[in-house]
């Protein structure tokens, strides 16, 4: 078995289970001597081998090297557009978990109400565009999925 590393422009990870769904993903390498950073996967040659759009530098990895991939269609962190209000999602999830265990979630629900108001009021003073009523699928007669 060859050691993990970069050989002739190909990344080799014996612990890899790569398939074609990895093509286009961003791979982040840490702990490497020459290839730390992000790489876009170009091709998957084998479950343990892939190439990247940019050409990496050949090296045999140490045991400290780690490659991370973000699953397709997902994010590794809350996006900018929601980061300020992520407390709402956390409270919502925590309430669900407590309710499932039949534990009291009253305090969290009260906080959720306050957080809801904060979100709704966050842009209340903003006048950079006319107010536009939200068009949501289940509320508009047309324009949503299966609205007939």
């Amino acid at each position: 078995m060859s050691l993990d590393g970069v050989y002739g422009g190909t990344f080799l990870f014996n612990a890899g289970a790569f398939d074609q769904s990895y093509v286009g993903l961003t791979m982040t390498i840490t702990g490497s001597a020459h290839n730390n950073g992000t790489w876009t996967v170009a091709t998957v040659l084998a479950p343990t081998m892939l190439t990247t759009v940019a050409t990496p530098t050949s090296e045999t990895f140490t045991s400290a090297v780690v490659a991370t991939f973000q699953p397709p269609g997902t994010l590794g962190a809350v996006p900018d557009t929601m980061n300020d209000w992520v407390l709402y999602a956390e409270l919502y999830a925590a309430i669900t978990i407590l309710d499932k265990q039949n534990l009291d979630s009253t305090a969290l629900k009260e906080r959720l109400v306050l957080e809801t108001k904060r979100i709704q009021q966050a842009r209340a003073g903003r006048r950079d565009q006319p107010y536009q009523a939200p068009m949501r699928p289940r509320r508009v007669r047309h324009g949503g999925w299966g609205s007939y």
């Binding site: 060859s2 612990a15 084998a46 490659a67 809350v78 709704q120 536009q132």
Partner: protein
């Protein structure tokens, strides 16, 4: 403030629900609840702030039957608006179709979203044109990244770490061929041993200068100490392995023995006869002294010799390469010694060394040996569809004094692959007892695009290495792998007299 990562969000939810230490729910379930919460938050923000998440999607239609619709983007959640002729002075809004029954109303254009994932412009006869759909994409979902760690083991403590290579150039004094050890030979041999001892990993036990035995290193005096024969016995501080270098001058016949005793140790001996050990064996063939590079066989009475000596930090490994330059200025590798503690080698549970290289008078740079050329049929060695030779072996030492040439370079095809004291080697017959001398090439290190170092040694010549058994030498592509003068190991790194 950095955006909250998936793990940060999971931790926060566990803190809110008092499940940080009470693992009644798995991280996967917490993440699923987190994504539900994000969807709710997304809808809340979308409802409160209208166009906050709007994305544009441009499309063009030629109109008419079958050309009045196009597929929606993959991340489509719901529509906000549709513009016709966007970013032009004729831009206009396209309203949602008031009702499906009015889809063929030729007086007014309208858009509709269909369950099959299309956006349609009705009536088809008016659909021609450029459009821009302003839509809300699906809520992004959090997921923990897929982590693929390197499975490489951490480097062993005995990994050969760089100790400055040492080289020596012998005195250019004409020796007297035959009968006595030439000054060149003696000088080279004495300096070589001095270099090994200077690593600090070997200790002299006894020495003989041909007339007396002492517990000190009489060879430190240089070539005059051993011109009439003698021996030097030393022990490896880390492993207890003993070495013995023995010079015997018997009339017109000179013998220089390079021996190892893995466990028993050398005892006995006189000033002119070698100590012995029941488990000893040769590092280099125990006949003649040509391996010292006297030059007698090729008429060169002033050979330039250098040795490179490596030692691992833990002292268990010592590696020596002798280089030889003849009158024509051709430098070759003359001898390779490895004193390595390698386990599980063929021939015993513990083989401390692999060393060989002498080939009965021929230099190792003969065209069929270290000439770098990929010849013969190729075999696939990797799964990337490329083919390349994996291993070439030019010689093998059978451990009983025989050097078997393997010419031309054998290929792996129809050969056995052995893991022995020399590393990964091949043989078409019984496994070599003491390893092989040869070289190994790997497509990954020679197949890089032009201008891209194939191996990160920083060598502007292309970054190549070459294997001799387990030992890897830097190589700038010249005829002699590892010879001083590469970018990584410039001449200035070596000490000794300049070759002139």
């Amino acid at each position: 403030m950095a955006n909250k990562s998936t793990s940060d969000v999971i931790l926060a939810i566990r803190q809110h629900s008092n499940t940080v230490n009470r693992k009644v729910v798995t991280d996967d379930e917490v993440l699923a609840r987190a994504n539900e919460g994000l969807w709710e938050l997304y809808d809340l923000i979308d409802g409160a702030h209208g166009t906050y998440f709007v994305k544009p999607f441009a499309f063009s239609l030629t109109g008419g039957y079958g050309a009045y619709k196009t597929a929606l983007p993959a991340d489509f959640y719901h529509a906000k608006a549709v513009d016709k002729s966007p970013d032009t002075s004729a831009m206009s809004s396209v309203d949602p179709l008031p009702s499906f029954a009015e889809r063929n109303n030729t007086r007014k254009r309208g858009y509709d979203l269909e369950d099959v994932g299309n956006i349609s412009i009705y009536p088809p006869a008016l659909a021609q044109g450029d459009y821009r759909l302003l839509y809300i994409p699906k809520c992004p979902q959090l997921a923990s990244p897929i982590v693929v760690p390197s499975t490489n083991p951490p480097p062993p403590l005995s990994s050969p770490l760089p100790i400055p290579a040492r080289a020596m150039t012998i005195l250019k004094v004409t020796g007297t061929p035959g009968g006595t050890l030439t000054i060149n030979q003696a000088d080279m041999l004495a300096k070589n041993e001095t270099a090994i001892l200077s690593l600090g990993t070997w200790t002299v036990l006894r020495s003989s200068n041909g007339t007396a035995i002492t517990s000190t290193n009489q060879w430190a005096a240089g070539q005059t100490a051993i011109a009439q024969g003698g021996w030097l016995q030393m022990v490896n501080n880390a492993t207890g392995v003993q070495r013995l270098v023995f010079v015997s001058v018997r009339g017109s016949w000179i013998e220089v023995q390079n021996l190892i005793s893995p466990a028993v140790g050398f005892t006995g001996g006189t000033a002119i006869t070698a100590p012995t050990a029941s488990d000893s064996y040769f590092v280099t063939p125990g006949v003649g002294a040509d391996w010292l590079g006297t030059g007698n066989s090729d008429g060169n009475v002033n050979p330039q010799l250098r040795t490179l000596v490596w030692g691992s930090v833990d002292g268990t490994k010592t590696r020596v390469v002798w280089f030889y330059t003849n009158l024509a200025g051709v430098t070759t590798i003359k001898s390779v010694w490895l004193f390595d503690t390698v386990g599980g080698a063929v021939g015993g549970p513990w083989v401390p060394f692999v060393g060989m290289s002498w080939d009965n008078g021929n230099d190792l740079a003969a065209a069929t040996r270290f000439t770098y050329a990929q010849t013969g049929s190729l075999i696939a060695t990797r799964t990337n569809s490329n083919t390349a030779e994996l291993i070439f072996v030019s010689q093998e030492n059978d451990g009983i004094g025989n050097i078997n040439d393997r010419l031309p370079q054998d290929q792996v095809t129809n050969q056995y692959v052995w893991l022995n004291g020399a590393g990964l080697t091949i043989s078409g017959k019984a496994p070599p007892r003491n390893g092989v001398l040869g070289w190994l090439t790997d497509q990954w290190w020679v197949g890089a695009p032009a201008g891209v170092p194939a191996f990160p040694d920083g060598d502007t010549a292309g970054g190549r290495f070459i294997f001799i058994g387990q030992m890897m030498l830097w190589w700038d592509g010249s005829a002699v792998p590892g010879y001083p003068g590469s970018v990584d190991h410039p001449e200035a790194n070596f000490y000794g007299r300049a070759a002139s």
